[in-house]
Symmetry: C2
Subunit: 383 residues, 2 copies
C-alpha cells in the first residue's frame, strides 16, 4: 500500500513537471518564433517571397556540381555496407528553395556514384523549432522524393546530429542570422547602445563591432558543431549573403533596407503609434560579413580547410526586384515574425505601408544600378 | 540570347510546377490532417487528453526493460565506431507520452551498455505530416534531452528510413489506425456498405471483414517496411490496443464509444443538422485486432519472430476515466480532426454535447466494472 502511494506520488510529480515544461515550451516557442520565416504559402509567406534567395542558390549550383565531382572522395567517405548518404540543409526555411537545392545536391551525388552502386539518401531539414515544417513535408509527400526525409529542428549554432553521421552539409542564406541580438546593443550604459535604430547600418562603429563580435562567436560555434557531425570525407557547402571587403556606399544596399524599416518605426514612434523605448530595444539579429572577415574566422577556428571561396555578385533587380510591392514583400517575409513578436500584430500592415511609400522614394529602389548584393560561396572540408 | 531565353523558360516552368505542387500539397495536407491527433496544448488537445494511452505505456515499461536487458545483443548490433543508436517512435503524436517513452527506452539502453562505452542516441519521431511536431520539439528544446531529435513525418505503412539504419522501433497506441477506410464500406453496391454507422462496432459481419482485411494488409506493409529499416540485431516493441480473442460483450467497451458517436451523428441527421449521406460516407479508419488474428498476420508475413506477446488487461476507470467530461475529451481529442475534416467545424461542439449526454446514460459509463480494454505487447525481431 505504501509502495502504491509512493508510485502515485512520483507519477503526479512527473505529470506536474510535464505541465510546467509544456507551459515553458509554449512561451519558448513564442520566443523562437521570432527567428523563423513567415510560414504557409500566403501572399506574405517566405515560400512566395524568396525568389531572390533562389537566385543565389541557382548561382551556386554549378559550383556545388563541380565540387562534388572533384572534391568528394568516395573512398574517403568509406560508407559501411548499405549505409545511406546523409545530407543536411541547415536553416532550410519552408519554401521550395530547400527542395530544389536538395534535389540538386542529390543529382550531383548520383552522378558521382555512377560507376559505384548508388547508396540511399537521407535528408535532414533543419531550421528553428517554430519553422513551418508542416508545409515543407506536405509538399515533399506530394513530390514523390528520391530520399528519406527527416527534420532536425533546433539552432544550428549548436549540435544537431550524432557525431560523424552527416556526409554533406548545405546552408544557404541562413548564416547571416545571429544566434541572438548582441547584448551590448540593448545595454543603455554601453557605447554600443543602438538607440533609435534596429540594425547596425548607419550606426556608430561600436554597434557594428558588437554585431561583428557576436557573428565571430556564432560562426565559431557553428563550425565546432559541424566538424563533429561530419563523417570522414564529408563536405560542407555554404552560401552566405555578404558585403564586399571594401564598401563603396551607393553600390551596396543589403543593410539599407533594414535601416529604412528602422526609420519607419521611428516615424511611427514620433506619431505615438509605438513607444520609442520599444524601438530602442528592438534589433535585428542579422549580420552581413565580408570575405576577409569570414576567412579569418574560419582560419582561427581551425576545424576546416577552405577548399573554395568565391564572391558572387548578384544584381538584385535582374532576379525579381523591379516591382515595388514584391520588393516590400521580400523584406516583410523575412522580418514580419520578428516585428510581430516585439511590437505585436497590430502595427504590421501600417508599418509596411509606410515602408512601401518610403521605399518608392528611396535611392535603394529608384536607382536600379545600385541594386547589387554579394554572397560568398564556400566549400569547407574538415581538417 | 537564345540560351538566356531558354533558361528563363525552364526557370518559369519550374516555378509553375512548384506552384502546382504547393497547391496540391496544401489540399493533401487537409486530407492528411484527418489522421493526426488534436495538436497544441488546449483543453481539447491530445497532449492534455492522452492519460489513458500513458497508462498503457506505463504498463509496458517493465516489459521493455526486461526485453532490452535480455534480448538486445550488443555484439549482434555491431555498431560501427562512433555510430549512434537510432530509435524510432512510430505514431508518436505530440503529447508528453512519446517523450516519456523514449526517455524510458534510452534509460534501459544505457543500463544495457553500462559495461561498454555508451553510444550517442538519435531519436526519430514519426507521425503523419500534419501532426503537431512544433509543440513536440518546442517541449524537447526546453527539456534538455540526452539525444539528437529528428522527426520523420509520413505514413508508417510505408518506408520511412534508409535500410538497416534503425536499432529500436517503438510504437504505442498507433497500430489501431488503418492506412485508409476500407473501400468496401463506402461502396453502396457492396454488402459491406456501412450505412448509418461510422465504425464496424454493431455492424453486419461484412463490415467487420472489410476492416479486418484492410488491417491485415496494413500490418503486412508495416512489417515489410520495418524489416528493411531495422539494423541487424535491432528490436521492435509494439503496444497495440486490442480486444480479447473471445469477446463477451459487456466486458469490452473499446469500440462502443465510436458506436455512440455514430448514433449521435445519426441523431443530428434526423434533426437535419447533417445529411444522412454524409454520415454514410464517414467511417473511422480504426481497427482493434485480437491476439490470435495479430499472431496469424505476423506469422504469415514471415519477416519477424515473435519474441514476446502478452495481453495486458487495463481497467480504464483506474486510470483517468471516472469523470464524464474527461471521458468525453478523451474521445474528442482522437476524433475531432477526422470529424472536422468530413463534416466541417460547425458541428463539433454540439456533437460532443450530445455525446456527453448520451454517454452519461450509457452502460459504457455507468457500469465501472465494464471499463476494461485490452492491449497487446509485442516484441519482434527480424528473422
Amino acid at each position: 500500500m505504501v509502495v502504491k502511494t509512493k508510485k502515485l506520488y512520483i507519477y503526479e510529480c512527473a505529470l506536474r513537471r510535464f505541465a510546467d515544461i509544456w507551459m515553458e515550451a509554449k512561451s519558448q516557442s513564442i520566443m523562437l518564433e521570432s527567428y523563423a520565416m513567415n510560414g504557409g504559402d500566403g501572399p506574405y509567406s517566405y515560400a512566395q517571397n524568396s525568389l531572390y534567395q533562389r537566385g543565389l542558390m541557382e548561382a551556386a549550383k554549378g559550383m556545388i556540381n563541380e565540387e562534388i565531382a572533384m572534391k568528394l572522395d568516395i573512398q574517403e567517405l568509406s560508407l559501411a555496407a548499405s549505409e545511406p548518404i546523409r545530407i543536411a540543409d541547415l536553416g532550410c526555411s519552408c519554401g521550395p528553395n530547400t527542395i530544389l537545392a536538395v534535389q540538386h545536391i542529390i543529382d550531383a551525388l548520383k552522378r558521382k556514384f555512377q560507376s559505384h552502386s548508388t547508396p540511399e539518401f537521407q535528408v535532414f531539414f533543419n531550421d528553428h523549432v517554430s519553422n513551418d515544417f508542416n508545409s515543407l513535408f506536405a509538399s515533399l509527400s506530394v513530390l514523390g522524393k528520391q530520399y528519406y526525409a527527416a527534420s532536425a529542428p533546433g539552432s544550428f549554432h549548436g549540435r544537431l546530429f550524432p557525431k560523424a553521421t552527416v556526409h554533406f552539409v548545405y546552408s544557404s542564406y541562413a548564416l547571416n542570422w545571429l544566434s541572438k541580438v548582441p547584448e551590448r546593443v540593448v545595454d543603455k550604459t554601453d557605447p554600443a547602445w543602438n538607440q533609435g535604430r534596429i540594425h547596425y547600418t548607419g550606426a556608430p562603429k561600436e554597434v557594428l563591432e558588437a554585431y561583428s563580435d557576436q557573428y565571430a562567436k556564432d560562426i565559431d560555434s557553428f563550425l565546432q558543431a559541424r566538424v563533429k557531425e561530419l563523417a570522414p570525407g564529408g563536405l560542407m557547402a555554404l552560401l552566405i549573403p555578404a558585403v564586399p571587403d571594401v564598401i563603396t556606399d551607393p553600390q551596396i544596399t543589403i543593410g539599407s533596407e533594414f535601416k529604412l524599416v528602422g526609420s519607419c518605426l521611428m516615424d511611427m514612434a514620433k506619431l505615438g503609434m509605438v513607444s520609442e523605448a520599444k524601438v530602442d530595444t528592438f534589433n535585428l539579429p542579422i549580420y552581413f560579413t565580408y570575405p576577409k572577415e569570414l576567412r579569418q574566422i574560419i582560419e582561427e577556428n581551425g576545424c576546416f580547410s577552405i577548399e573554395r571561396m568565391e564572391v558572387l555578385n548578384i544584381p538584385k533587380q535582374h532576379i525579381v526586384m523591379p516591382d515595388l510591392r514584391q520588393r516590400m514583400l521580400y523584406i516583410r517575409a523575412i522580418l514580419e515574425p520578428l516585428i510581430k513578436n516585439h511590437f505585436g500584430n497590430e502595427i504590421i500592415d501600417q508599418l509596411f505601408e509606410i515602408y512601401s511609400r518610403k521605399l518608392s522614394e528611396s535611392s535603394i529602389f529608384l536607382n536600379p544600378e545600385c541594386q547589387k548584393t554579394t554572397a560568398i560561396f564556400l566549400l569547407l572540408k574538415p581538417i
